[in-house]
Structures are given as C-alpha cells and as structure tokens.
Amino acid sequence: MFPDISIIRKDFPILDQSINGKPLIYFDNAATAQRPIQVIEKMNEFSLHTNANIHRATHTLANKTTEAFESAREIVRKFVNAQEPAEILFTHGTTESLNLVAFSFGEAFISSGDEVIVTEMEHHANIVPWQMMCERKGAILKAIPFADNGELRFDLLDSMITEKTKIIAVAHVSNTLGTVNPIAEIIALAHTKHIPVLIDGAQGVPHFKIDVLSLDCDFYAFSGHKIYGPTGIGVLYGKRKWLDRMPPFMGGGEMIDRVTFAKTTFNQLPYKFEAGTPNYVGAIGLAAAIEYLETLDIQSIAAYEHKLLTEATSRLKQIEGLMIYGEAPQKAGVVSFNIEGIHPFDLGTLLDQLGIAVRTGRLCADPVMDHFGVENMVRASFSFYNSFDEIEVFYKALIRLKSMF
C-alpha cells in the first residue's frame, strides 16, 4: 500500500523534532510544504560548488549555472507538459506570476469599460493585482460566487460573461475551502467566446498532475514552496501567443535586447519577463523537488492525501459545535473550521502547545470570511508525509482543548 510513511518521512528530517515537548505534527502544508533532504542537498551542493550569475559570462561556473537553470526550466516544462521551455517563466512565486499577468496582459489587452472575472473564493493574490489593474484602466472586476457548501457557481458564469470580458482568473483549488474548481469546463466555456483563462495553481499543483496542453489553459501559476521546493521561486506558464504580445512586467537585466537612451528593445521569451538576476538556486531546488515528486507517483499521492482529508473531515464532524467551511464534492488538501465559542487564535495557540502546527487567521481570503460572516478560521492541510495516527492525535487534542473553554 502506498505510501510507506515511515520510509517517506526519513526524507523529511524536519518532521522528526519536538515542539513544546511534543512530536511535531505539521498540518500547515498549504502554506509551506517541507523540503525533502534531496532538495536541500541539491541546493547546498550547488551553492558550495557552482554558484555564479547566469547568461552573463563565459567562465566555467557561469556556464554551469546557466545550464542548470535552463535544465530546471526544461524539467518544469515536462512537469506541466508545456509545448516549449520559452513558455515557462521563473518568478518569485505565484503572487508575482499573477501580478505579471494582471499587469502585462492588462497593458496589452484591457481598456476602460472592459471586464475581468475572478471568483469569490480567490486568494487575495488573485484579486488585488486585478483590482489594481482595473483601477488603472477603468475596467470592472466581477466575481463568480460560490454556494454555501463551497462549490463554485459555475452555472452563473455563462451569464456573467459579456463581450467586454477580457480574461477569467480562477483558482484551481481554493486555499480556504479546498474546493477543486471545474477548470476544464471553465476553460472550454471561455474559449468558445475567445476569452483566455488564467489558473492560480498554487494549491492545485501539490495535489494533481498538471497537463497545460490538454487543459488548454492560457496561463497557469504556481509556487515552489508548496510543492516541497524552496521559497522565493515560482512559475508562470503562459501560451506563447499571449506572452509574445504582452509588454515586459519589469525592466532591467536579462530582459533587455539593446538599450539606448532613445529606445530599448527587449529580449525574446522567456527572458523578456525575467528582469534582474533570477533566483537560480531556487529554480534548481524546484527542479529537484519535481524530480523527487516524480519518484513518488503523483496519482497515488493524491489518492492517499484524499484519504487523509476524508478521515480528518469525518473525525472533525464528531466534535460538537465544530463547523467546517467548504464541503464541495470535489475537494483537496485543506479543511477549514471553527469550534463554537473558541477563537481561532486561541485554538492555534493551544494546538501549538501540543506540537500541532495549523494555520489560523483570515487565510488571505477576506471575501470567504465575509461569505460565512466570520473573522477567522482554523485550517489544517495535509501532505503525503502525514499519517492517520497524526489525525487521531489532532482529533483528541481538539477534544481536550475544547474542554478548557
């Protein structure tokens, strides 16, 4: 049976520690997943022996670094099945990827009175950049609502699209509700009206095998640190036909072809969008994380994580006064909840005393908090290195803490 947790956990030495005298139970994977030793060693080895700036010099270390960086790009390309490496842009994370599209796509294609559609369940990073762009351009931001069970009201999308709609930006998986959105259907519908679709895949990539070619999305964004890679590195996949027509997001460094004070011409894809020295160590770490994931088989990971989620959900439901937010039929990775009469901050503080790490707060999703009329939530999020035993400890901890109030 997949997976043998005890073997997998050996790859993640950070998990083997005590917090406040209790064995660490790490249930904050949707914020940052832990890195396996293979990733850490790859990055260390690179920093110890190779480190030099890329694409800029002829010396051996610079060449080796450039080669490693570009081979990381190729590994990412294969991972998401993009047509060519030039469609894979390295960014600092999903947030930058989303800002890049909102800015550059907005500059090229959006004018006053145009419309952008997002959803009510987006992370702030897939709302605010669009809002900023809309304000600049005098465009309108609309949000597809979700039902109280967390399911996206896909049925409303068709009527929300107008001839002014220029782009639709949707989370693959909600970071708060765990809802897996019907992105294939959204893309198909949008494309019948020639509207491009961006997928915020920050919470999608950790749980699903992504194939941008068969999905036919126009943009797909994700982060390294949510798929067992380092922080500060992210990816934007974009179809060449859009990227070629979009102006650069930032100026300087690698994105330049030729600069004079009269006019600057820009480098070709992907470099046009990679201004300044990129986080090449991060890119190499991300590639190592992808290679690690591929040894595990992402399908069985997803199945196992889903079992963890199902078990956690059914355990939580046995707790009186506990309310789960988001119970869409298609759900992955996270379970957000509140216990009546207990502030999430208090619960998070006390769980930490028991060595259990969860996320508490507004989860970077104010509109979701507003939908349910709550100030905060507690979120537990699972990875393949978590176990059923940990869920049992978590359940018992909640029962015990509840009695303190």
Binding site: P344, F345, D346, Q353, R362, N376, M404, F405
Partner: protein, 149 residues
C-alpha cells in the same frame, strides 16, 4: 482590591502575578487560568468598542479606551480572543490607574517571566504588543499635557 492595588507599585503587582503563575504545574493550567481571567474581565463599554479604538492584529482584535482622570490613566480594554483577553486583563491590572510617569518607567516583564513571551513577539500579530505600545504612547502624550499644565 482596588484599594490594595493603589498601595502597590507596578513592579510589586508584576511580582504578584508571577507568583500566581508559579503555582501551575503545566501549560494547560496556565492557559486555563488565562482563559478564566479573560472570561472574568468586564467587557469594554460598547460605545468604546469602535474602529478608532481597535488595535488590529492579524488574528485577534484588541480594543483599547483610555481616560485621564486626576493625573492617572484609566484604561479599559477587550479582545475577541480569550487568551489575549486574559493577557489584556493582566496588563490592565498593572497599568490602569497609574500616572504616565509610572507607566513609562515600567516594562511588562511579567509576561516573559510567566513563560508567555511568545505572545509579545511581533510575529504573533495578536495585537498585544501593539496594545502595550499604544498604552505607552498615551502615557507619553498625557505626560506632555501634564507638564504644560
């Protein structure tokens, strides 16, 4: 209780709090006690539970109201999180009804001494650190006003 407090200095009360907490054998008792005194704290007058008095942490909210009467600052405060409310109650116990000079001259070191220092770290973003800062700012302002008089 109030009479008693007037006789004690801020540091004496801090010592008293530390003594109270020293009796607890494990963290659960300690937090249970914080929750208890949080529950016992009289709620802030609803007319003061307004935006302008809100000290916004990322996760828990703290409302702080103050009045300057007879050379002393009277603080009222509340939080929506009980553990924070418990700590708020302790802060009120040492700082409310004191002169600006007394407030400025003293740090709430008892929080560290009862092993709850993490609640004052900036990363907790629970509004407590901001509350202490805010109390000191009021003290500074009222001290200036008193000097002018």
């Amino acid at each position: 209780m109030i009479k008693n407090r007037k006789k004690m200095t801020i540091d004496e009360i801090q010592k008293e709090i530390v003594d109270e907490f020293s009796g607890f054998e494990d963290w659960m008792d300690k937090y249970s006690y914080l929750i208890e005194i949080g529950n016992e704290l009289s709620p802030i007058d609803p007319k003061y539970k307004i935006e302008i008095n809100l000290i916004r942490g990322c996760q828990s909210r703290v409302w702080l109201h103050q009045e300057f009467i007879g050379g002393k600052i009277i603080f009222e405060a509340e939080s929506d999180a009980l553990i924070v409310k418990g700590l708020v109650a302790l802060l009120l116990r040492i700082y409310s009804g004191r002169s600006p000079k007394e407030i400025l001259a003293s740090e709430p070191r008892f929080i560290d001494e009862i092993g709850l220092r993490q609640h004052l770290s900036p990363t907790r973003s629970n509004g407590l650190l901001a509350m202490v800062r805010q109390m000191k700012l009021f003290a500074m302002a009222y001290e200036k006003i008193s000097e002018k008089k």
